[in-house]
């Protein structure tokens, strides 16, 4: 455990020692802020209309605004995550520091989990900054916090899936660009895999929907924590880490 933390800390430190962390956090909160503003304005307009029609206070911030905001955030994540993970293994392989890690008294698993936690830490920092916007919402309105918490949990879990997949892809190559692009393409595939389902048999559709990484996020965006989805995301993350472990191990044998 101490080794895991040492490696996680080193990863986080290297993110924040380079421009990567600041650029990612900055751009992510900028895009988040943009969507926040657009949805907020739309919500204000709608609730004004409802007031005029005499609906009176029936507008639900959580339903009408936060849900859409989270769904769009999930799209931003798709673009941002490859940049977090693309260098994790590739850079160590390119610069030779992987020799230090693999000849130290730490297990492969400790290295992998350390790297995963480090990347997750940066991602959590990105999400933390976006909470400032949500605070504004609490200041001027009266949203429910539980659905918002569920949304953040969903983002964290979904991001974890992307990170573990990205970690695996990064462990396959020395080249950061290759790792980054492959990761992005893979995420996109996971994203749109269920579009195929629309024209196929109900069983295929069911399967493809289940595989699609976004399909499982909808309930979280709505504010529902369904164990089905939690299990899906957690097993996805574990599978990604497992593949990384296998990849690192096979690299070792191939030399």
């Amino acid at each position: 455990m101490r080794n895991v933390l040492a490696i996680a800390e080193k990863e986080l430190r290297s993110y924040f020692a380079s421009p990567i962390a600041y650029i990612l956090i900055g751009l992510f909160s900028l895009l988040f802020g943009w969507f926040f503003y657009v949805y907020l304005m739309a919500f204000v307009q709608q609730s004004e209309q409802m007031m005029q029609m005499g609906g009176g206070g029936g507008a639900n911030v959580n339903q009408m605004m936060v849900r859409g905001l989270f769904q769009n955030t999930a799209v931003i994540i798709l673009f941002v995550m490859p940049m977090i993970t693309m260098r994790t293994y590739s850079e160590e392989k390119r610069s030779g520091t992987i020799e230090l890690l693999l000849t130290s008294p730490v297990t492969d698993l400790e290295i992998i989990i350390g790297k995963f936690i480090g990347a997750l830490g940066l991602y959590a920092a990105m999400l933390l900054v976006t909470m400032l916007y949500i605070l504004i919402l609490f200041k001027i309105g009266n949203p429910e916090w539980r659905p918002i918490g569920a949304g953040y949990l969903g983002l964290l879990l979904m991001g974890g899936c992307f990170l573990s997949t990205g970690l695996f892809i990064s462990s396959l190559t020395k080249n950061q660009i290759v790792a980054g692009f492959l990761t992005f393409a893979t995420f996109l595939m996971l994203w749109i895999i269920n579009w195929l389902g629309e024209s196929s048999s109900p069983t295929t559709r069911e399967v493809l929907n289940y595989l699609s990484i976004t399909e499982h996020f909808d309930d979280f965006a709505r504010g529902i924590i369904d164990t089905k989805h939690v299990v899906y995301y957690l097993s996805f993350i574990l599978f990604g880490l497992f593949l990384t472990a296998k990849s690192v191990d096979s690299e070792r044998w191939r030399g």
């Binding site: 080794n3 290297s14 008294p105 191939r254 030399g255």
Partner: protein, 331 residues
Amino acid sequence: MIEVQHITKHYGRVTAVDDVSFRVERGEILGFLGPNGAGKTTTMRILTGYMPPSEGRAVVAGYDVFTHPIEAKRRTGYLPETPPLYPEMTAREYLDFVAKIKAVPASERKARVDAVMERTRISDMANRHCGKLSKGYRQRVGLAQALIHNPDVLILDEPTAGLDPKQIIETRDLIRSLAGDHTIVLSTHILPEVAQTCQRVVIINKGRVVAVDTPENLTARLKGAATLYIQVDAPGADAGAALAAVRGVTRVTSADQPRAPLGPDAVPPVSSGPLAFEVESEPDVDIRRDLARIVVTRGWGLLELRPVRMSLEDVFLQVTTEEVPEEAPRA
């Protein structure tokens, strides 16, 4: 302290290391000598547990590196060919991180970091980012990293590569001062380095061990009095052939043109003035009298006749070229 038993490593179809075995005793400095691509780095990577061997086993500090990797790695310090530094960390941060993953207890960490920085003389660069260090300092930080957990075994892959002469001397002194407490394996293709630092040498070529001995013995064993340098004042033409005809002579080489073997029927270079030859003979046959006699009976002048001691470099070349005669260099 280190025992390597019949290690073989294949990369796909390429065999990088082929049935290598050797032992290193506690406190010894072993030099690993070989041309580029001989399998030095691969052997070291196997010893450090970076990769498993295809066959055979390696035992470091009493632990098999494959079945007990954590225990073995805890007792091994490794400096790879390029020091594995993180450019965005300062030297101190870096050593602190390495100390953590090398299981140095938290209470001793700061003291250890200070001690190794002192020892490798990098204290003045403690707060400089590793990416901004000069080659010499990087190498030293790499060495500090290998020493941080006070390992029993030190494995150094070309520790002096890329350093300036003063740094090379300092690094060699440092390595020598580490022997005794630590068992050291270092690889190099710089030959004087082995003679200066190592107590024993393993010469490796094309993945095979071709010789294991002390530098002195290697030099003596392979050459010693078996080669004579002879300079004669002869009209040219047949001098080399005449010397080659002496009983017990195995090879005559023109010393003016290094390493051009002259067979009995080869045409020697025609030159006026004295000719120099290196004459090799069968071991335990003293050919000096016969050589002198033939020179005198032919009426040439014998200007010089002396035994040649080979430098380690010659030993190395000879050992590695004898192993693969079809690739012997022809000047």
